[in-house]
Symmetry: C2
Subunit: 199 residues, 2 copies
């Protein structure tokens, strides 16, 4: 039977919340969007948003169809020896991006960030603070924010060149080859020297 | 006096050639586009295209409003001591991108490459082969193409994070700070170890 739409039921409500959240994230950015405001826009109780999606981060992830849970990514990368941070981060990145379903959404997010300020703000807040910023801060190193943004530059560039533009041979390189080449960069950005010695 | 448009004169002809070339580069990519085909589309003699723009590379640069001449970039980067390659490349990159007029065009090119295959092909051919490929090949190192694509990943990512998304503090870092952080990456991608030692 066709749905009549008057009372949309659970999946309709979820979709209304996701639509409202995408609009809010695009309009005011990740940091400024609130569960309360999104719930109001979707015409539901905030408790229902929490019930379906947990935190704002969970809502964002569902709205953007992101395949990974940032808290989990951070935990995985930080577990294990400090000199293996670069390798673990690159391996996890490849695992997420090599899955076909993930990468059109993620590339679309980067693409729209280049033309829309709100999408740029969203990516800045989310990738910079929630994802890479957390890793860098957890390491107790100087210049954690600069390290996070340098890390962002290599990872965003790797995503675009390997999956977006598909520049060979990086596009077809095996995960081991990519790790061998890129993990030392990531390791240095996280824990190595990134400034000139003081004069 | 207003231009009547019947016989457009030099600037109209130049524009017609540029329009035809942008369409051709977008349709078939940089490598497959020909001066002959572009001249035909613009309704002019191929000799006139050569007269105004020199080579296909000059035409591409004019069509995309690129501020730099790739041959000049390659020459500048290669001149001087080998262990200063990374620093020279990053400094030149910052010089080009820090100029306000350049970067909307360049970011637009990257953005459209994420949604249009022809734009992706154009960027692959041009950045991969004409620009970074030339540098890597001139160095007489193993894995020159892999090195060029790794270099591309860091430079594209730096462009997007510093100028597109504007993730702080990398967005506001001084050229010296960026060089200190990123030049070692570029130097290793060009001349350092990028593969695991053979087992």
């Amino acid at each position: 039977v066709a749905r009549t739409g008057r009372r949309p039921g659970e999946s309709g409500t979820r979709e209304a919340i996701l639509d409202a959240s995408r609009a809010a994230f695009a309009r005011v950015g990740y940091a400024s969007a609130t569960i309360r405001g999104i719930a109001r826009d979707a015409g539901v109780d905030p408790a229902l948003v929490h019930h379906y999606f947990g935190t704002k981060e969970g809502l964002f992830r569902a709205a953007m169809q992101l395949p990974m849970d940032p808290a989990h990514v951070v935990e995985e990368v930080l577990a294990g020896p400090r000199d293996g941070l670069g390798e673990r981060l690159v391996r996890l990145f490849l695992l997420v991006w090599d899955s076909d379903e993930a990468n059109p959404t993620l590339l679309g997010l980067v693409g729209s960030a280049l033309s829309h300020e709100a999408a740029a703000a969203m990516l800045r807040d989310f990738v910079g603070e929630e994802l890479l910023g957390r890793v860098a801060r957890a390491l107790d190193v100087p210049d954690a924010r600069l390290r996070a943004s340098l890390l962002g530059s290599q990872m965003v560039g790797l995503a675009i060149v390997r999956y977006g533009i598909r520049l060979e041979p990086l596009a077809s390189a095996s995960p081991d080859q990519v790790v061998a080449a890129v993990a030392p960069t990531v390791q240095r950005y996280l824990t190595g020297p990134i400034t000139h010695p003081p004069a």
